[in-house]
């Protein structure tokens, strides 16, 4: 096994917000990411899944240094990113890039597709010749499936999927080694989603990228990931090889997510909803439950879950899970999931 | 350039950071304290100042109120224009620093027995500013121009006493029929419709100034502009920058150029009296047109040597509308209201500028006339209030049935303060309920004239000429400004007699009698008589206070400063 390119160790991000007036100001802390650790090998794809509010996007931004980290470390090829100053971190953008969720809003409406894609080149290679920049830009457009003659069009002249292709071209123009995709397809139609996922998969193969792919449902991640991490309220519930996770989820939360995967058949969908595992909503992030943070929504909870915090522990097969009952439960999937 | 100035400029430049900084030396910023101490005035035997006490730079900067509406003397009506025109032009008569009439272009004159024909003997050494000779024909041409209907001058009304003026203005007679005749090149006669004792004074006003015929015919509408204007006074127009400044320069062709000490005169227009004061304080003006009412106390304390106040030929009073209730045929009520005002409080606490409390129409000091003074002028205010209450009740009013009236005035701070004070005095002494109504000036004038909705209204008069008649004629039956609806045949008869009376003492007695009749009819509530108030650089001499507030620059001169350093700065 090769050395991991990215090591995330006990990473935590805390947001402060203030309530009350000027005098009785009261600080509240929101732990968006709370002690996440994982390694990522070169060329590997890690899928990160969780409901909205589980902290997955914050985790993505923390890895890139776009938000302030309150604890833990991010090591990139042996170098700690978390301690770097703004300028040094900025230099790392050449190696680590991100694709955002809302493809249209993430593009500056006042810039042409070409300028959007070329801007990182202007920034990091100010001496690059114009022609060379344009050539590279056209090449990138071609690579992501855009027509090079659309170079002077504005974002509002493209569809959502095409905008995401621009976003991907833009993120890859500097030849990064790691691409973090923060729900890159959740704003797109289902038919387009597959195109984009396939595109990313092809590019990853072609460019040898390490990929972090974030989504809020497991089916999207399944196709592209080597390993999957399931997050809940800023913590990792399970980190497992794709094959074993989809065959036999270890954590009740993973199982719950699996059940809530949209099913094409309306009858089955109704049935799935009826036996929905997930009870109620995610608790307020300001009032985290004691014990297992999932226990109040978990249909399989026991007394112990309310008091003891389950540690993320490694099982015999190498997967990681944070559940007291992981071994005793059998959450194998009876109906093979589609996709 | 001094280093300190450099730093200032840099500071100011960085303050704005936009405009390029020029290196030009500015002439502002001389602190007043250093400028304001003149050396003692030393006079030579002929009464002129010793050259050794004069400042090197004989320049005066006069704040002049609003922008003059015109420099064509025949159209000029406003006070700001008249100040400038008095320097530029000279009529047949002129005024000395104390406001007395002195020979102008006419060296002497005769008045006929019937007081209707004036013969003027003009000086023979006069020229226009362009060097052309000036003679009686120029004056006849100019007076005809002023009265020509085609000129359409509003100032022409001042010349109405001239024979056939009304008919010529109405277009019924040609200008040649006006009462002017040319006896020879330097002698002319003016015939009047009737005796007009103040006529010589009228000839010193701009509408009677001569204009250069060639000049007018060459430039037409443009003749009063910079570079065009030819004049006959002590100064010529050097530059007119509208609403910025009007610069006059001493005319070497003026007959008494040798006597004129002030070389240059700047008239600086200003729409705001406080700005003028600030410009004066920062050394940009030597003379302000006025000072704001609310700064009197402060200026008195900080600029006692500079602050000058002097009686002016104007009165501030309230008028009654005699054609409507409640004042129609109600002299007791009118007298009650007249009595119940404490004028001393108004002048001391409200207007604050040394205005004189007044019990009559005509201000004191006009051509030697002593105004009528009613009995109650000598009472205490308590006595007046007591009598006022008696009259008020006699008129049928009481606490249960109080009088409700409006005081109407044109919008201005001062008018409002005065109206407020009077309202509270009436309320306190009599229990009158007063409503204050302010109106824009022309709306106010129209309402006054229509005599329908007015009850008590602000009135006042500033005379055109140095004669009490200017005040009295307002109350004649049918006069255009008789907004009171006053009509008293005996008053009118007295004015008719004043119009024909030649003997000064008798005429004065007639006017006194007319004023007495008017005051006994209680047509107006006298409040105070005006004063002029301004700041003057103590180094500026040669001028005197006068009731007309006319101050020709040609008599002025600037003394040296006591501080030799400052003297050095006077390039």
């Amino acid at each position: 096994m090769s050395k991991p390119v990215l090591r995330v160790q006990d990473l935590a991000v805390t947001f402060s917000s203030y309530t009350g007036g000027l005098l009785n100001r009261h600080e509240r802390q929101l732990r968006a990411v709370d002690g996440i650790s994982f390694d990522l090998d070169p060329g590997e794809t890690l899928g990160i899944v969780g409901e909205s509010g589980s902290g997955k996007s914050t985790l993505a931004r923390a890895i890139l240094g776009l938000v302030k980290v309150s604890r833990g470390r991010v090591m990139w090829r042996g170098e700690e990113l978390t301690g770097l100053d703004e300028e040094a971190l900025r230099q790392k953008r050449k190696e680590i890039q991100i694709v955002f969720q809302d493809p249209v809003a993430s593009l500056n409406p006042r810039m042409t597709a070409g300028d959007i894609i070329a801007e990182p080149l202007w920034t990091f290679y100010p001496n690059m010749e114009r022609l060379q920049v344009e050539e590279r830009t056209r090449g990138m457009m071609k690579m992501v499936g855009l027509l090079p003659n659309q170079i002077n069009r504005y974002p509002h002249e493209f569809s959502g999927g095409q905008c995401q292709r621009i976003g991907i071209a833009r993120s890859l123009v500097l030849n990064p080694k790691l691409l973090v995709c923060d729900e890159p397809v959740s704003a797109l139609d289902v038919s387009i989603q597959a195109q984009i996922i396939n595109l990313l998969k092809d590019l990853q193969k072609k460019l040898g990228l390490a990929l972090i792919f974030i989504a809020h449902d497991l089916s999207v991640v399944r196709h592209i990931s080597d390993r999957v991490m399931v997050m809940y309220m800023g913590q990792a519930m399970e980190v497992a090889e794709k094959a074993s996770l989809y065959r036999r989820p270890l954590h009740p939360y993973t199982n719950a997510l699996m059940k809530s995967v949209p099913v094409p058949d309306p009858k089955l969908a109704a049935a799935a909803r009826q036996e929905s595992w997930l009870k109620g909503d995610m608790p307020s992030p300001y009032q985290r439950p004691k014990g297992c943070i999932f226990h109040n929504r978990c249909p399989l909870r026991v007394k112990r879950c309310e008091a003891d915090v389950p540690a993320l522990r490694r099982l015999e097969n190498g997967d990681w899970v944070a559940c007291h009952r992981a071994e005793e439960l059998d959450l194998s999937i009876q109906v093979p999931a589609s996709g | 350039m001094t280093p300190t100035l450099h730093i200032k400029q840099l500071l100011v430049c960085s303050l704005l950071g936009l405009v390029a900084c020029s290196d030009q030396e500015s002439d502002f910023g001389r602190p007043l304290e250093q400028r304001s101490h003149p050396v003692d005035l030393v006079l030579l035997e002929d009464g002129r100042p010793d050259p050794s006490v004069l400042a090197a730079d004989q320049v005066v900067r006069r704040g002049n109120g609003e922008e003059p509406e015109t420099l064509d003397p025949h159209h000029a009506l406003g006070v700001p224009a008249s100040h400038i025109l008095r320097d530029l032009f000279e009529g047949l008569t002129a005024e000395s620093p104390d406001g007395e009439l002195i020979p102008g272009a006419a060296l002497r004159w005769n008045i006929s027995r019937d007081a209707r024909t004036y013969t003027f003997y003009l000086r023979r050494d006069m020229t226009w500013s362009n060097g052309d000779p000036l003679n009686a024909e120029d004056f006849v041409y100019s007076l005809q121009r002023a009265l020509d209907p085609a000129t359409a001058s509003s100032a022409a009304r001042i010349l109405l006493p001239i024979q056939n003026a009304r008919e010529v203005l109405a277009g019924e007679l040609p200008v040649e029929e006006l009462g002017f005749s040319l006896l020879d090149e330097f002698t002319m006669q003016i015939t009047l419709t009737g005796p007009t004792p103040y006529f010589l004074g009228l000839l010193a006003s701009p509408v009677a100034y001569p204009v250069n015929r060639k000049n007018v015919e060459e430039f037409g509408d443009q003749f009063s502009k910079t570079g065009n204007l030819v004049s006959n006074g002590a100064y010529v127009l050097k530059e007119w920058k509208p609403r910025v400044s009007i610069e006059l320069e001493k005319d070497p062709n003026f007959r008494e150029a040798g006597q004129v000490l002030m070389e240059r005169v700047f008239y600086i227009p200003s729409e705001d009296a406080s700005t003028e004061v600030k410009q004066f304080r920062s050394g940009e003006l030597d003379w302000t047109n006025e000072v704001p009412n609310n700064q009197f106390k402060w200026l008195q304390k900080h600029y006692p040597d500079e602050l000058v106040t002097s009686p002016w030929m104007g009165s501030y009073f309230l008028g009654f509308n005699l054609t409507q209730e409640p004042f129609i045929d109600n002299p007791s009520l009118r007298m009650a209201l007249t009595l119940a005002i404490d004028r001393q409080i108004i002048t001391d606490k409200v207007t604050q500028f040394g205005e004189q409390p007044s019990f009559a129409l005509v201000p004191p000091g006009i051509d030697g006339y002593v105004p009528f003074s009613p009995e109650y002028a000598d009472w205490t205010q308590e006595e007046r209030d007591h009598e006022a209450l008696r009259l008020y009740e006699q008129a049928g009013y009481s606490d249960e049935n109080p009088l409700r009236i409006e005081i109407r005035f044109n919008t201005s701070d001062n008018n409002k303060k005065i109206a407020l004070a009077i309202a509270s005095m009436w309320k306190q002494a009599l229990g009158v309920n007063v409503t204050l109504v302010n109106e824009e000036f022309r709306v106010f004038l129209q309402n006054r004239e229509q005599k329908v909705i007015t009850q008590v209204f602000r009135a006042g008069w500033i005379s055109d000429y140095n004669d009490p008649y200017s005040f009295l004629e307002l109350f004649r039956t049918g006069h255009g400004r008789n907004d009171y609806g006053y009509s008293n045949p005996s008053f009118d008869a007295l004015l008719d007699e004043v119009g024909t009376e030649r003997v000064r003492a008798r005429r004065e007695r007639l006017m006194f009698e007319a004023e007495r009749v008017l005051m006994s009819d209680h047509v107006i509530v006298p409040v105070f008589t005006y004063v002029t108030k301004r700041l003057v650089n103590p180094r500026l001499k040669g001028w005197q206070n006068n009731v007309m507030d006319h101050h020709p620059s040609r008599f002025m001169f600037m003394l040296k400063s006591r501080n030799p350093d400052i003297q050095g700065e006077q390039q």
């Binding site: 955002f100 833009r170 | 420099l71 359409a152 609403r243 940009e284």
Partner: protein, 313 residues
């Protein structure tokens, strides 16, 4: 295609000016004539003979409708007629003298306000909810709420009277005489623009494409300059149209207090003196200036915002 759209847009707007101005002229003409009193009414009443001469001279003796059409005919040739009040000048001359002064003061004030306002606003937005933000915006609040007739005398007193650095008033086209009026005029506008900029800058900085720009590895300054500034000043641009019109057509208060021969007092003086031609001239001139400036703002807006370029027809 884009140029064509813009050109057509421009032509339509300019043609639209004609009826707008015609309505403006008509309303203004009859409104000022309806006001009580006339140009020759004063405390001192004119004898009827003189009054008749004046009325004839200025055609005031004609029926009102005839005067209206006479005025229209005259104005088509670009002639605003002679001023009633300032007898030596035509209205054209007065505007030609006053407008450059007002436009200089107003233009400089607008420039200053735009530069400082956007700068301050951006600064406050970048340091949102910090001490810098609070103090800058607090000062801006003061700038808006203190009227210029309070600021101006204070400035004069401190800078001109006590310090003697600058003249207290008057005009000669020197920079010294421009400084105080420009600052006074600009202050509330700086404050307003700063607030506008801050608000929209905060909004823009939270937008997704700014996040993208940061992710691209752009230095923060470049993020602001290239991506955030343009959209953030859009509201400022649309505010600047009418604001510039108001500034460059002159402010009565500023002109009075600093004794500046601008256009603003002509409007007020003209109205108070019932100087019909002067009021009309200034009104028509204002109308043209406002329409032209709004038009320029439209073009600027289109330039800053490509999405609306194609909407213009």
């Amino acid at each position: 295609m884009r140029q064509e759209g813009l050109l057509r847009h421009a032509t339509t707007r300019l043609l639209g000016l004609v009826p707008t101005l015609l309505i403006l002229i008509t309303i203004a003409f009859f409104l000022i004539r309806m006001a009580p009193g006339g140009p020759f009414d004063g405390e001192k009443v004119l004898p009827p003979e003189i009054r008749a001469n004046l009325d004839a001279n200025y055609h005031l003796d004609e029926p009102l409708l005839q005067q209206y059409f006479r005025y229209l005919g005259q104005i088509i040739t670009g002639d605003f007629g002679p001023s009633f009040q300032y007898k030596d000048w035509t209205v054209n001359e007065l505007i030609a003298q006053g407008f450059p002064v007002s436009a200089t003061i107003g233009g400089l004030a607008m420039l200053l306000a735009f530069v400082l306002g956007t700068l301050i606003g951006t600064l406050a937005a970048l340091r949102q909810n910090s001490a810098v933000d609070y103090s800058v915006m607090g000062v801006a609040m003061l700038g808006i709420s203190i009227p210029n007739f309070v600021v101006a005398p204070l400035l004069i007193l401190v800078v001109a009277v006590y310090a003697g650095w600058l003249p207290a008033g008057g005009w000669d086209w020197s920079w010294q005489r421009m400084v105080l009026p420009v600052i006074t005029l600009a202050l509330p506008v700086i404050a307003y623009i700063a607030r506008l900029t801050r608000g929209s800058m905060i909004e823009v900085l939270h937008s997704n494409y700014i996040r993208t720009a940061r992710a691209k590895g752009l230095p923060e300054l470049l993020v602001i300059r290239r991506h955030a500034l343009k959209p953030a000043i859009l509201p400022v641009i649309s505010y600047m149209g009418p604001a510039t019109a108001a500034l460059i057509t002159g402010s009565v208060v500023i002109e009075r207090i600093y004794s500046i021969p601008g256009l603003g007092s002509y409007f007020v003086q003209g109205a108070l003196n019932r100087d019909y031609t002067l009021v009309m001239g200034v009104v028509v001139f204002y109308g043209v200036v406002i329409v032209v400036l709004n038009f320029i703002v439209d073009l600027l807006y289109a330039w800053l915002n490509p999405r609306i370029r194609y909407d213009v027809t």
